[in-house]
Symmetry: C2
Subunit: 284 residues, 2 copies
């Protein structure tokens, strides 16, 4: 169901004045009014010169959701927009898709089911190309909800809430590894997911936990600087100084101890460096 | 509706071998099977020599809930049990109640509504006597659910969940001030209350946040040592190193920033010193 490519690519890269980024969005981003987060993605993809790929593969209604984002970015004035409606892993080797992936300036991963998304995309030639271009800073990538969850190498595939942190509260899987050092959770405070992200951190204490609320974005620049944008908060759970956890000794439903976590709740305008694991100065 | 006092008190204090404590219980403690937490209260109140006061004033069905705990402690073999069914502040000056409060060895505050509990008890002569005896270490005090919430000086009176931390997510009120340096939240992970306790800490950064899960107890000894007991976790939110919050600059529904919180998730057997704000050593 991939839309046919109709034009040759000029082969130009992103305009130099635009800084590429990875936008990790907590789901339910504003699509109607200010569209602040989507506008930022559009801007970072090159504004009027942007060539955008929408990947709706996480969704069970990819045509519908693909069309919705298509209208939004068309409305903003993108130069070119393709919905890469990948429903089969073989499409990840499709030369037309690979060609667009080599030439687009922004990629948007929609919501849906992150296990489905990774099942379709992980380790395909298309995904390898996307990863490479993101790491070279050639392209802006955004993922919302399931598309956000898939950003880390360790991915939260599902889980629950309303319980003490415990191993059975979170199902871990392998993500797309775009920012390998983080574990993302989305719809974070909206769906009360603190305990499930804590449970994930107990199992992966070398990672950094990032919980993103709805209509909120953790925007990562290439140097590891995270900017917060939007209506809610971004929660950082840093287990770097964790002095004890019983995680490996207990049963799947037993409560987990986590001693000495560092936690930050960040709002619009706050900045955090994920490599240095430190907040950037803030005016009091 | 106070039960009549039928006997003279011998005037003896707690047996020296029993260490008094304050038991802060997250609600829904086991009342049927192991009754571990209630047994510990009974033991710390003097076991077979215990003279217990049950205060069901938080509840709208005080007779029912009072009778339920009466049966439990009678079943355990308490020497004397009184339900102090206080439904009016004037009862807090009742000589019979004051006499029992001066001579009992354990006081149990039931669940219900913490605003109602404090409205009835705060600053009555009975409450002054109870506070004095707790601080002298003469008496063991337990509070579950609403009875736990009321332990701090700053009290969470109500609030919500499923939102980014914000001021309107928590209603603060004045508690009984038994452990003035803490802000307690109960049914903690069970009712997804992390964001509301975070919101409370932003407003009261000189306090220590204590979130207690159901069937779980934070047992405080006189020196400030907290022991965790029961099925769930006790969450400590320590804002002692908090480097920034926007709490005082924002609207009631705006999200709150909190930078540099220290968070501990503690399980059965874990110990934490609330004055030193440090974990006691734990075997790895």
């Amino acid at each position: 169901m991939m839309l046919q490519l109709e034009s040759q690519f000029p082969g130009t890269r992103m305009p130099k004045s635009t800084k590429t980024a990875v936008l990790v969005i907590g789901g339910a981003e504003d699509k109607i009014h200010g569209r602040e987060i989507l506008h930022n993605f559009f801007y970072r993809s090159g504004s009027g010169q942007s060539r955008i790929a929408i990947i709706p593969s996480a969704s069970r209604e990819p045509a519908l959701i693909g069309e919705r984002y298509h209208r939004i970015f068309a409305d903003m004035g993108a130069q070119e927009i393709r919905v890469l409606d990948i429903r089969d892993r073989t499409q990840g080797s499709d030369p037309l898709i690979l060609e667009y992936m080599a030439n687009c300036t922004g990629v948007f991963l929609t919501g849906g089911d992150q296990l489905r998304l990774c099942g379709l995309l992980a380790e395909t030639p298309m995904m390898e190309k996307l990863l490479q271009r993101v790491h070279l800073g050639e392209i802006t990538l955004a993922g919302t909800s399931a598309g956000a969850a898939a950003m880390g190498h360790q991915m939260i595939g599902g889980g629950g809430s309303g319980e003490s942190p415990n191993r059975s509260l979170v199902e871990m899987a392998t993500g797309l590894g775009i920012i390998p050092e983080i574990v993302v959770d989305q719809h974070f405070h909206n769906r009360n997911r603190m305990a499930r992200l804590m449970s994930a951190m107990a199992a992966h204490p070398n990672k950094l936990g990032i919980g993103i609320d709805e209509d909120t974005c953790a925007l990562f620049e290439q140097d590891g600087l995270l900017h917060v944008m939007g209506k809610g908060t971004v929660t950082i759970i840093d287990p770097g100084e964790m002095s004890y956890t019983n995680e490996s000794y207990i049963g799947a439903k037993d409560p987990i101890s986590l001693h000495n976590l560092r936690v930050h709740i960040l709002c619009h305008g706050d900045r955090y460096h994920i490599h240095q694991r430190s907040l950037m100065s803030q005016k009091f």
